[in-house]
């Protein structure tokens, strides 16, 4: 079984985001990026399937800032092949563009499953998993929390709200949007990544034509103010705890 795992980086939300001068994008100069956590889960699930049933795992990513290191990290975790999709990409690649470039690259490969993250925090024009499936013209299941391979068939668990789960039986090829792997994604020490950078080869494949369908046009980025901003409780931890205690008392809770 061949499993392909498209991965990408997203801004690390622990760091403060800034808006650039145009007002239509993030200020990307100092931005700290990290692997999309759901892609990390997709990679983990693929590696678990490999360990169970001997699949070959290929991690693939669109050429972008620091992506080589991300791909080598995937190799250090256990991906058998790593591929960078090259092309004339701008600083921001929309989900449609990314999905189309990935589809162009993947369609010439042998694959049974494509596992990628259910979403990323920057998918303004939709989530890549289902877009990719449709550009590849293969079926999809997203919001997946369980995958098992039984001979030629793949059994997939999909989550709904309220803790309801549906089980589907699928025939590859197939794209899955992974919500959570069976276990917390593995960690790999930097030393191992450095080591693999010397031995693994990073292949390059052209992304081809990524001109896509109509899209809405961004006018403005702004920080949300939410429904009604919270009243902030100041002071030392002790004073803050006191105030919370009083609020609870007022509510008749304590």
């Amino acid at each position: 079984m061949n499993i392909i795992v498209p991965i990408k980086q997203v801004p690390d939300l622990v760091e403060g985001l800034e808006i650039d001068e145009s007002g239509k994008d993030l200020n990307r100069e100092w931005i700290k990026l990290k692997l999309n956590e759901f892609d990390d889960h997709a990679l983990e699930e693929a590696l678990l399937l490999k360990e169970e049933s001997g699949a070959t795992v290929t991690a693939i990513a669109i050429d972008s800032q620091d992506i080589d290191k991300v791909l080598f990290t995937a190799a250090a975790k256990g991906a058998d092949k790593i591929i960078k999709v090259t092309g004339n990409f701008g600083t921001t690649v929309t989900s449609h563009e990314a999905a189309k470039a990935l589809a162009n690259a993947i369609s010439s490969m042998q694959y049974d499953l494509v596992l990628t993250g259910v979403q990323a925090v920057d998918d303004r024009d939709g989530q890549i998993a289902v877009l990719l499936a449709n550009y590849l013209n293969v079926p999809h299941v997203s919001v997946v929390t369980g995958v098992s391979i039984n001979g030629g068939a793949v059994s997939v668990m999909k989550e709904y709200g309220g803790g309801n789960v549906a089980e589907f039986e699928c025939t590859p090829p197939l794209v899955l949007g992974i919500q959570a792997a069976r276990q917390t994604p593995r960690y790999v020490p930097v030393a191992k990544v450095r080591q693999i950078m010397k031995s693994a080869t990073l292949e390059e494949v052209a992304g081809g034509d990524v001109s896509v369908v109509a899209a809405s046009t961004v006018q403005k980025f702004s920080f949300p103010t939410g429904g009604g901003s919270a009243q902030m409780i100041e002071g030392s931890a002790e004073e803050q705890a006191n105030k919370i205690f009083e609020l609870l008392k007022e509510k008749g809770i304590k």
């Binding site: 259910v118 289902v130 039986e169 025939t171 809405s216």
Partner: protein
């Protein structure tokens, strides 16, 4: 150009999700502004009577087939694509939900229609649609305009009042002829109901809810202690469940439970839209977070910028 507004309704075994009413309410407003009609799209089997729940719409397009009795990603996407292709409505509203996340991108690609996701607001004037997306985990709003012939908006649940879309009546029902459903690729097997053996957090008046800020399951006992002292229960965000530190039954949010306690203490939870969806109706929300820009503060009534490892013991000591 069409002026129609479509709402792709959602139900799980006949139980209609609130987000459907939210979309119908918003859709009605959009239809009034565009001068077109509001059309609800319903897929299912022997469920025509559900159309009566969609009195806000002037018409319901109903696709009935035994294979549509339960949601099937590719079949639902195929049928919705066909319906959209026939009518090319100006705006199609789908939910950012487990079902919508499969349908919206599929229709976008198959029909070549623009798609805007994480939509928290939209309006229409002269058939030009202004749309706001909430991205980066709720930390940024992006305004965009859509001047295409047709667009899909994938709407964040909880963005619009559901009451505005709740009108019973008997809208005209138009049957859509279903054909060509091939089950060989994706077959629905069964629906597994949630576990009921644990505490029911939806019944708890006080929830002490923890997120990734708790760092390790070794730190959970102090949270349990606080909850016990308050006479409440512990709930959590999704990553805590994914890490297997707490059972799924304790998860609040989109893929967990919707809760409306008297008091919701959010400790080390950033406030991603998927979490907010599950707790925004709590009477009193108090959030503790080290990040002053955490989106949870936009939804909390009271906020503490601080370390939960200081606040929890200090509060416990008072009780």
């Amino acid at each position: 150009m069409s002026k129609q507004i479509f709402v792709i309704t959602e139900h799980l075994r006949g139980k209609i999700d609130d987000v459907t009413y939210e979309m119908l309410g918003k859709g009605k407003e959009l239809a009034a502004a565009s001068g077109g009609e509001l059309v609800a799209v319903l897929l299912g089997h022997n469920q025509k009577e559900l159309a009566n729940e969609f009195g806000a719409a002037s018409k319901v397009i109903y696709a009935d087939h035994e294979k549509l009795a339960d949601f099937n990603p590719w079949m639902y996407a195929k049928i919705v694509s066909e319906i959209v292709a026939q009518q090319k409505p100006r705006v199609v509203l789908t939910a950012y939900s487990s079902m919508g996340i499969e349908v919206a991108p599929a229709v976008s690609v198959s029909q070549g229609i623009s798609l805007t996701a994480y939509v928290s607001d939209l309006s229409i004037q002269d058939l030009k649609v202004s749309v706001v997306s909430q991205i980066y985990g709720g930390k940024m709003n992006i305004e965009a305009v859509d001047e295409n012939e047709s667009m899909i908006a994938c709407v964040l649940p909880g963005s619009f009042p559901a009451d505005a879309g709740k009108a019973t009546g008997s809208p005209a029902v138009e049957d859509f002829a279903v054909s060509g459903l091939d089950e060989s690729k994706i077959q629905f097997k069964k629906l597994i109901a949630p576990d009921k053996s644990d505490v029911d957090i939806t019944q708890s008046e006080i929830l002490v809810s923890v997120g990734r800020g708790i760092q390790s399951n070794d730190n959970l006992p102090m949270v349990e202690e606080l909850a016990t002292k308050l006479g409440g229960a512990v709930s959590c965000s999704r990553p805590i469940v994914d890490s297997k530190w707490m059972p799924k039954t304790r998860q609040v949010g989109k893929s967990g439970l919707k809760v409306k306690p008297k008091c919701y203490l959010a400790l080390g939870i950033s406030g991603a839209p998927e979490h907010i969806e599950g707790m925004k109706e709590a009477d009193l929300v108090i959030a503790v977070n080290t990040d002053p820009k955490a989106p949870i503060f936009d939804y909390a009534h009271y906020g503490v910028v601080g370390d939960l490892f200081d606040i929890i013991p200090a509060l416990s000591a008072k009780l």
